[in-house]
């Protein structure tokens, strides 16, 4: 697998080079060299201790490249994707099929700001792409390096200073076709000072064949910029996703990321924040509902690099069947980051004897005037609460679902759109086996 991936780069390096600037090509090459020498991470790596890629690596994947023709089976029509959209919110829409941009299904814009595809931005917006692409990811692990070398398309957003997007962006990544496929997707999001944007993202496999998407996102927030990003992970049971998102935040900027993981075979989320100027605030919420053989892994990392920054983190997990959960929350408060406020909470419910969660808060604090707290819990449904609801006439199954919804409440409460909230409730209700009003 490693050799095939390497070959798919070296074979096409000149074409990759022609697509963008020499500086970008050099970054691609360095990344591929690192991937080649180190390979995929194994459970011997501390960061992958509880999450083995072995199963995901077993399939014989087709590799997509920008230089091969799109397969006939890759064509989708609007009716095929409609049910995966949050329909009643008017949105910009950027749709990818097997890593390839679909202009037919998308609704992009360049009026006042850019919501489009990275594939079209390499040359057209080289002055924006070149200083940013790969800057936040060069020291990260080899799955990220692989992406840096091979990825060519994904969401591209550039909002100039002071502009608030008039509607949210839906970024949809579909995988289709009869054979297993391995996709790299890459997004670059640039918000100028005071700019505001909202993104709803979904990776969705439409095939029963095994699929693996390896996604990397870089987000740069100017002073006082705001981003709200909702990641819907409700994929098919043969789909794997590894995603690493990095957000750099300047002075007084705000970032909120919701990761709602209800379905998919294998989900590995890395979410990093770099708070580089005072007053920046990062908030992250996660909800994992896993059963069967699912794996949901959250690795988060906040670097407090400047004073007076705030990070708040609240992840909830419900694990049934033989599912596994992993939570690793790193908070690094660097020497100069006085007056840091950092809060982390990870609560889990284990519903079966065979389900498990490995949870690990990891705080490293090198400043002395800070407020940091963390907590993690692992428990079962509260029998007292269950009896209370049943004594009021609510059936056991409904009562359990109601308690699980209540448990999950914090993780979704901050999502603004009522229709998105409703969709989430439906997804969660479906997962828990009850009709949600």
């Amino acid at each position: 697998m490693k050799d095939r991936l390497a070959a798919s780069y070296w074979l096409y390096e000149s074409q990759y080079a022609a697509m963008s600037s020499p500086a970008v090509t050099e970054r691609r090459r360095n990344a591929m060299e690192r991937f080649e020498s180190e390979g995929f991470p194994t459970v011997r790596h501390e960061d992958w201790k509880y999450t083995s890629l072995k199963k995901v690596l077993k399939a014989e994947y087709a590799l997509n490249s920008p230089f091969s023709e799109a397969d006939e089976s890759e064509t989708l029509e609007f009716k095929d994707i409609k049910r995966f959209l949050v329909n009643d919110i008017d949105c910009y829409r950027v749709v990818f099929i097997n890593g390839r941009y679909s202009s037919w299904l998308s609704e992009t814009t360049h009026r006042g700001f850019d919501v489009c595809t990275l594939g079209s931005a390499w040359k057209k917006y080289a002055d924006q792409v070149e200083p940013h692409f790969g800057r936040l990811t060069q020291d990260l692990g080899t799955t990220v390096q692989l992406n840096t070398a091979l990825a060519w398309d994904g969401l591209y957003v550039n909002v100039p200073a002071g502009v608030t997007l008039d509607k949210p962006i839906q970024a949809l990544y579909f995988t289709t076709g009869d054979q297993p496929v391995f996709n790299q997707t890459r997004s670059l999001i640039l918000l100028g000072d005071g700019a505001k944007a909202e993104i709803i993202e979904r990776h969705q496999s439409l095939t029963e064949a095994e699929t693996w998407t390896n996604a990397v996102d870089e987000v740069f927030l100017g002073a006082n910029a705001h981003i709200h990003w909702v990641k819907l992970q409700h994929d098919s049971s043969s789909a794997a996703l590894t995603q690493h998102s990095v957000i750099e935040q300047k002075r007084d900027s705000h970032a909120t990321v919701h990761t709602i993981s209800t379905d998919g075979k294998f989900l590995r989320n890395n979410l990093d924040f770099k708070l580089v100027e005072p007053g920046a605030e990062a908030r992250m919420f996660g909800l994992s509902l896993a059963d069967g053989q699912q794996l949901v892994d959250h690795h988060t990392r906040v670097d407090h690099l400047a004073p007076h920054c705030v990070s708040r983190e609240n992840y909830k997990g419900i694990f049934d069947g033989q599912s596994n959960g992993v939570f690793n929350g790193q908070i690094h408060v660097h020497v100069d980051a006085q007056k840091t406020l950092a809060f982390q909470e990870n609560d889990n419910l284990i519903l079966s004897d065979k389900a498990s969660i490995d949870t690990k808060p990891q705080l490293e604090i090198f400043a002395d005037d800070v407020k940091c707290s963390h907590g993690c819990t692992v428990g079962q449904l509260d029998e007292d609460a269950l009896f209370y609801l049943r004594a009021r006439g609510i059936q056991r199954k409904e009562a359990q679902a109601l308690l699980m919804l209540a448990f999950a409440h914090d993780a979704v409460a901050d999502i603004q759109h009522p229709s998105l909230q409703a969709k989430l409730h439906r997804l969660i209700g479906k997962k828990l086996g009850v009709e949600m009003a």
């Binding site: 509260d382 029998e383 007292d384 609460a385 009896f387 209370y388 609801l389 049943r390 004594a391 009021r392 006439g393 609510i394 059936q395 056991r396 409904e398 009562a399 109601l402 308690l403 919804l405 209540a406 448990f407 999950a408 409440h409 914090d410 409460a413 009003a437």
Partner: protein, 249 residues
């Protein structure tokens, strides 16, 4: 309405109830009094169907039929209601949603049509007025951050909505100030009718100043050791439980 026959119950092999006999007829209000640890809360939990207790002997007949094999929700559907001593806080579930779900589940189980939204709301408003409750209450998370008095009032509100045949009030008076006590008692009295019954579990006599019981029983060491009318409650208030303990010794 309910007949408890030689009921023995234990928890973790420890016997708590040791032969309770009690019969409550339709329209009656019975008060169960007794010192701490006498088994009062166990009795109410066992009737409501809590599964942590083992019934080792005896039976509970509700409207002539044994309910021992019935799940808690089925007992609720039959018309049994327990007002909890410690109502559970459930963040994320609003009072109105909870009551709506509870009421319609019971209706569904009885083969009745669910209430439509406006009838439901009207009924909620009516019962809230009765209990002098604030309208904002409905959209709050169930019991979360409620004061002791608010939690108890919420229990009585649920009772008023569900209109049970037998309501067991487990220490509903504890943690209530005088005004709240009066409001709760008014709520209960408004619901009294020849068709339904109440079992009021309490430490103190003061709630019984407002809700006049037909019968008073004293529970001690898992048995009913004394029964009488409302004057027994007054006597207990005056003399405490020591004389009962001595009588039993």
């Amino acid at each position: 309405m309910i007949e408890i026959v030689n009921l023995h119950a234990s928890v973790d092999g420890q016997p708590i109830l040791k032969g309770i006999n009690l019969r409550i007829d339709a329209g009656e209000v019975h008060a169960i009094m007794g010192p701490n640890g006498s088994g009062k809360s166990t009795l109410s939990n066992v009737i409501a169907g809590r599964e942590d207790y083992e019934i080792t002997q005896g039976d509970i007949l509700f409207q002539g039929e044994s309910i021992l094999e019935r799940a808690p929700e089925e007992r609720a559907h039959l018309g049994l209601f327990l007002s909890f001593q410690y109502p559970v806080e459930i963040p994320g579930v609003t009072v109105s949603n909870f009551i709506k779900t509870a009421l319609n589940e019971s209706k569904k189980a009885r083969g009745e049509e669910p209430l439509d939204a406006s009838t439901m709301l009207k009924k909620m408003r009516e019962k809230m007025d009765l209990l002098e409750m604030d309208k904002g209450f409905l959209s709050r998370s169930l019991n979360e951050g409620f004061s002791g008095g608010e939690k108890k009032r919420n229990e009585i509100f649920q009772m008023a909505m569900l209109e049970p045949k037998l309501a067991i009030l487990d220490e509903t008076d504890s943690g209530l100030d005088i005004d709240a006590l009066r409001i709760v008692a008014n709520g209960v009295n408004a619901l009294r009718s020849p068709e339904n019954s109440f079992m009021i579990i309490t430490h103190y006599q003061r709630l019984l100043d407002h809700i006049i019981p037909d019968h008073v029983h004293v529970l001690f060491q898992g048995k009913i050791v004394k029964s009488g009318d409302k004057n027994l409650a007054l006597e207990l208030e005056e003399r405490g439980y020591d004389w009962i303990k001595k009588e039993q010794a």
